[in-house]
């Protein structure tokens, strides 16, 4: 039962379709779907590391590849976070004995990103990438934190996510390593492309830019600092 639940929370095909179905129908909770899903997964993994056979590992790689391709056409920022979770989380099945640390590594920056995007959604009424642009000029703190969270999420060294992903990649042979690293390049491409459109470009005159307050900025800053400092030791 625990493993079955894990297949929905650290989703692999076809279970990921059910997770997607649920995501599309959670209404208000949709925005917090990734942190909630991640926490649930963490709770389940903390009860004991699951086991994964060859078929499950194969499905994990296929799932990751499918959602990586889908990631390239997402234009809604919170939707991107969800789709990215579906691309990156299945790879945890490749090394189930380290699933807990892998999920923790990605959940930290992805949750930070979610809360930052919720701030944007509150201002713009939507988190669509085309709705806002030029935040770097008028919301420098938000922009700095968002890009830092993005970099950490995208497993850019020296973020802890990079080492978590590296551990998985290092456990397998050259072909799989190449495939996962190609996915990594595509994650970076889609992430930077989407968020660049929001942060850069000409600021909109009809938009009321409002930077994040210290009550959100400080916790997120320290959270991200931990993500970057941890690997040094």
């Amino acid at each position: 039962m625990r493993k079955l639940l894990l297949l929905f929370t650290v989703p692999v095909l076809p279970f990921s379709l059910a997770t997607e179905y649920l995501y599309a129908r959670t209404g208000v909770l949709k925005d917090l779907f990734v942190p909630v899903l991640g926490l649930l997964a963490l709770f389940l993994v903390s009860l004991g590391a699951p086991e994964a056979g060859g078929l499950l590992k194969f499905l994990a790689v296929v799932t990751s590849l499918v959602y990586t391709l889908r990631l390239l056409v997402v234009e809604e920022l919170l939707g991107w976070v969800f789709m990215y979770y579906l691309s990156v989380a299945p790879l945890a099945w490749l090394k189930p004995e380290q699933m807990l640390m892998y999920l923790v590594a990605f959940l930290f920056p992805l949750s930070a990103l979610t809360f930052l995007l919720l701030h944007l959604k509150r201002l713009a009424g939507t988190a669509h990438a085309r709705a806002v642009s030029g935040t770097a000029e008028y919301m420098p703190v938000w922009s700095f934190l968002t890009f830092t969270a993005l970099i950490a999420s995208l497993a850019v060294a020296p973020a802890y996510t990079f080492f978590a992903l590296y551990n998985v990649v290092a456990s397998y042979g050259l072909p799989l390593a190449l495939l996962i690293l190609l996915e990594w390049v595509l994650w970076n491409w889609s992430g930077f492309k989407l968020f660049s459109a929001v942060l850069f470009g000409r600021p909109r005159e009809d938009f009321r830019y409002e930077d994040v307050g210290s009550e959100l900025a400080f916790p997120i800053f320290f959270l991200l600092l931990v993500v970057f400092i941890l690997p040094l030791f």
């Binding site: 391709l69 390239l72 990649v169 390049v185 660049s196 850069f200």
Partner: protein, 550 residues
Amino acid sequence: MVGLLPLLPIISAVTVVFLKEEKRVRRVSNAFALATFLLSLYLLLTALAGGEGVYAFTAFLSFRLDALSALMSAIVSFISLVVHFYAGRYMQDEPGYARFYALLDLTVSAILLTVTAEHLLLLFTGWSLTGTFLYFLLTHNYGRRPAVRYGLWTLVIQRLGDAFLLVALLLLAEGFGSYELTGLFERIEQEGEQKRLLLELAGTFVVLSAFAKSAQVPFHLWLPYTMEGPTPVSALMHAGIVNAGGFIVNRFAPVYAFAEVGLHLAFLVGLVTAVLGALLMLVQPDVKKALGYSTVGQMGYMMMEAGLGAFALAVYHLFAHGVFKATLFMSSGTVIHEARKDPNIPEDEIYKFFVERELPPLKLPWYFFALITVLVPFGLVVFAHLAAGVDAFKYQGAVVLLFFGWITGAQTVFSIYRYGAKSPVKTLLFVLASFTVVILGYVFIGHSFERFLYPDQELIKRIYLNAEIDPLIFELQILLLTAVAVAGWFYVYYAYESKEVIIEKLRERYALLYRLLARELYFKEFYEKVGELLTTLGRRTDELFRGLVR
């Protein structure tokens, strides 16, 4: 002490973002850049005195001081210092002054981290962060759409290079059981012969990552297209960051004592890049873009040198090119400014040759120039090698370099014959004098670099031997290249005799070649097509799965 090198620019970056006055930002950042440079000089002196070693704070945070890291640190911090001082005035009154300096410092820190790292993943961290910070520097003028667009291209190419390097590091670390360079090199020395296939793979991936960082074909387009960034960034990029490719091949030199595929690939791709870079440079109407392609060509030459086994020469090349190119970039603004003041193009001999297709009159017989063109450079190149005590004919690599030195020198002298001059003998003497200095410098300094960077002559000998190809193919190559060069000279002579710059028979083919080059061989369209294909694939997959969830 060596760990301080990447730390100083980080402290500077963190400090300047809290400063409000532009003057203070500039002073603080410049002071840290100067301190970094002085420290790198001290470390270079320490390395010259034989004080090499490894300094570890933690397993991951470990740094190495050796000849290569000390020399590269000195080069990088020197270029960084010059760029810092230049940027002070250039960036004045630009928005985001402190942000620019912070990013500049962080980029320099990432490069220094790469060159001083002892732990493989620390090296990768520096390598990868360089690309990330470069993206932010290139998008500094984020209101300009091309800056953001081509910044993204740069990032993707850099990430591809990162992926290649990570594969190489993974193969080496898992194959030899060490994440520290010192331990890794020792084990390669002991077990290299038994693990040749692994080393061939790792060596190839290292070279592939160098291609992405050093803008080799087909990964070259990011370099000439990122001219929207501020000029100091262009200077740093062309004089510092692109050199990382040459560094990484040198860093993993012991791998190439047992691997040859990577070397051959480096030679081939370097050769193609050198030729294409030079050709594409000629047709660029934009000064900065022409400089961009010139860098591509130079990086090709550098990669070719590495592919021939002349690793130390590649380091000297990247240093010399870095200094020259930084100067050119920082002067480009003045040139453009002057050109804007005076719309008239000076109608000198070069203008007449290219625009009015008018050949200059010759004051001396053509065979005088022809003989000088062929014999003098050859004599100089051979003399320089003999004077430096380099056995020019011992290894294929040295022969190829000698050959290229000769052809390049002949071409330089030849251009004087083509253009003519008001006083051809005087001009010729100037060209010959400067050519002598360059060749002697190239051979002598290159040779000194080799003795400093690779005191173990056995290692460099093995690399030279691994870079060699079948003697028959090698000789055929040399003959073919000679035939091409000589055919070119004959063509010019024939064109001169028939009083036409482009002879009638070749006019259509020339036009086709020009069109191809003017469109940059459609590489940009190729990149866009790959992007479109991936997006289409993503869209189709998305539609399919959305249909399933509905």
